[in-house]
Symmetry: C2
Subunit: 342 residues, 2 copies
DNA sequence: CTGAAAGCGCTTACAG
DNA sequence: CTGAAAGCGCTTACAG
């Protein structure tokens, strides 16, 4: 046998037509039992795999969904992938996982590439650069071509498409209320992922909650350029006694810096961060955190997309808000209480 | 304009033949400058994107590489992805990222799917189940079809294909020598990822180094079912004074459990773990670790694969061992020394 | 320099 | 129940 086995070769070997082989393999009711069996057996024997390019060319459907995440350092996005992978398998779609590395150019190239590959739909969490520059023509191009698009987590309201997110603003607000209830008076919002929709919303929620009570304190410091010295200086000079951090990496790096300086967590300084991952879960003290429901966001993104693809939805964009909650852990309990728990 | 734009429609609009349009777009020297320009302009105007299915059907090349990782909780594998993504982009290949979730069945489905999609090559780190049951027929099937295959990190010698790895055994050995030099006498090898090639090799290295000096101590405990109580009990009863952990999650969970029990790290207990990620880097104490060079492994895997695909290599399998080293951090230094460093 | 024709490997409406 | 034929959208050897 030279080259790959295909329908033509199977047909020749069986002395029947290509059409019959094709129909037999697809278990068409047109074909007799005996023929089907002969065909199936030979196909099995030769390990026949249909050429998907030919099938896709014919059907013009790729049975593939593209998912674009902006980065992969925060475990949140790996949770999203886990949810998306599971749901895609369930629904019988391939998942094409892409990473934009927070770059608009890369994101654009990815989208073009996915279009060239005729994906049936795309789920995306916007890159920092895309959001900051509000350059979304590569995404409107998708909508123009009627390719279903779902934004998750890092979204924008400038696109008429489905979205999945948590209520970032409300969750920040609730976190601040908890800290206020604990008599914290100098509460800092520490922004480690500037230029993202979620950061802005979290900041908004913080402002809303804090304004009635105290003067707001905001510090912006990208988690990639975390400066332990600067953060400690700020906390000391502003007498910060609690922090709401925009993300897990920022929260944990802050706890570390402060513990080295002799701060007791949570006694001297309480910390809550957005996102639950291994980093915060296993830290000592473990990090109190707002669960962003990564797996659910990934799962719902695929669900929505498949429903759109298969035309099970109304035309109007759907905006899903995933329910969430605060996980209370050691970084907001005091050690006395902790002793009793463990 | 109804439906998608394609060569035929462009040709009609321009009143020239499909062949000429095709050649013009591929910038063929056969075509005149003027024609090329007319074609390019119209294509641009209509946002023409060639149908990749048709192109791939014709060329029988997908320009795509599949990469399969077993899980995504350990940051090591996200490092691999980062390296692979960058190298694939550089070489002009698409990367199809897949996750087997440590399941043989899933891994097999992924491989079949990648085959159906005619990927030009596959890079894989074996799932736990695949390795444990030594069920590799889905991978030999690739070799039978002359589809280039590269194993990375979690490899097996039962496949005649290229491999990328670090010297797990030697690195474990060296780590133990360091602990011995520090006068540690009761050194435990803590295995959090049982049934993987890397775990076995690390254990081998541990045995090799420890045997001449002390009685070996091995404890197997999957990182997913980490039991703080049990580990502490073991450490106390065996008077363990140092640990080599097979992975970062296991190492960090152990440090946490022991610190809560009052152990001073590293004074009472020194810890080294395989793999460098944010978890160990930001911990307090930060985790001394063997760098598994995730990004390099991903990068080399793609490099090798592309070289194979483009026939730039000899037939014999190539086994690359990536150089690595121990990152000395706080979990193996004592705090007095640490004070001076910071 | 341009174009007609064959072919990549499938699927399916149609004929028998 | 089986098969001949057209077509999915490209590329390219060949003819002019």
């Amino acid at each position: 046998m030279e080259g790959e086995i295909n329908l033509k070769k199977l047909a020749e070997l069986l002395n029947i037509s290509i059409s019959t082989v094709s129909k037999a393999l697809r278990n068409s009711p047109e074909i007799s039992k005996e023929t089907k069996q002969r065909v199936m057996e030979l196909a099995e024997f030769h390990n026949y795999i249909p050429n998907s390019f030919a099938q896709k060319l014919k059907s013009n459907k790729s049975q593939t969904i593209g998912i674009i995440i902006p980065e992969i350092s925060h475990q949140f996005f790996t949770h999203v992938l886990e949810g998306a992978v599971a749901e895609a398998r369930l629904r019988g779609y391939n998942l094409n996982i892409c990473i934009s590395n927070e770059s608009l150019l890369t994101e654009r190239n990815i989208v073009n590439n996915l279009m060239r590959n005729h994906v049936d739909g795309i789920a995306i969490s916007l890159s920092e650069e895309t959001y900051q520059r509000d350059e979304i023509s590569h995404l409107t191009a998708l909508l123009d071509r009627n390719i279903p698009l779902v934004l998750f987590d890092r979204i924008t309201s400038n696109l008429a498409c489905d979205t999945i997110s948590i209520n970032d603003s409300l969750n920040a607000e609730l976190a601040i209320y908890e800290l206020l209830k604990d008599q914290r008076k100098r509460i800092l919002y520490l922004s480690g992922i500037p230029n993202t929709s979620v950061d802005e919303k979290r900041k908004d929620g913080y402002f809303k909650a804090i304004r009635t009570k105290h003067r707001p304190l905001v510090l912006e410091m990208n988690y990639k350029e975390f400066d332990a010295h600067e953060i400690v200086k700020f906390i000391k000079s502003e007498k910060v006694d609690a922090i709401l951090a925009s993300d897990e990496l920022t929260a944990v790096q802050t706890i570390r810096a402060c513990k080295i300086e002799g701060f007791r967590i949570p006694d001297d300084l309480a910390v809550i961060g957005f996102s639950v991952g291994n980093l915060g879960k296993h830290y000592l003290p473990s990090l109190s955190a707002i669960d962003q429901k990564g797996a659910e966001q990934g799962e719902y993104a695929i669900k929505l997309l498949v429903d759109r693809i298969e035309n099970d939805l109304e035309a109007d964009p759907i905006n899903i808000e995933v329910d969430t909650n605060i996980i209370h852990r050691e970084s907001t309990l005091n050690y006395a209480a902790l002793k009793k728990i463990n």
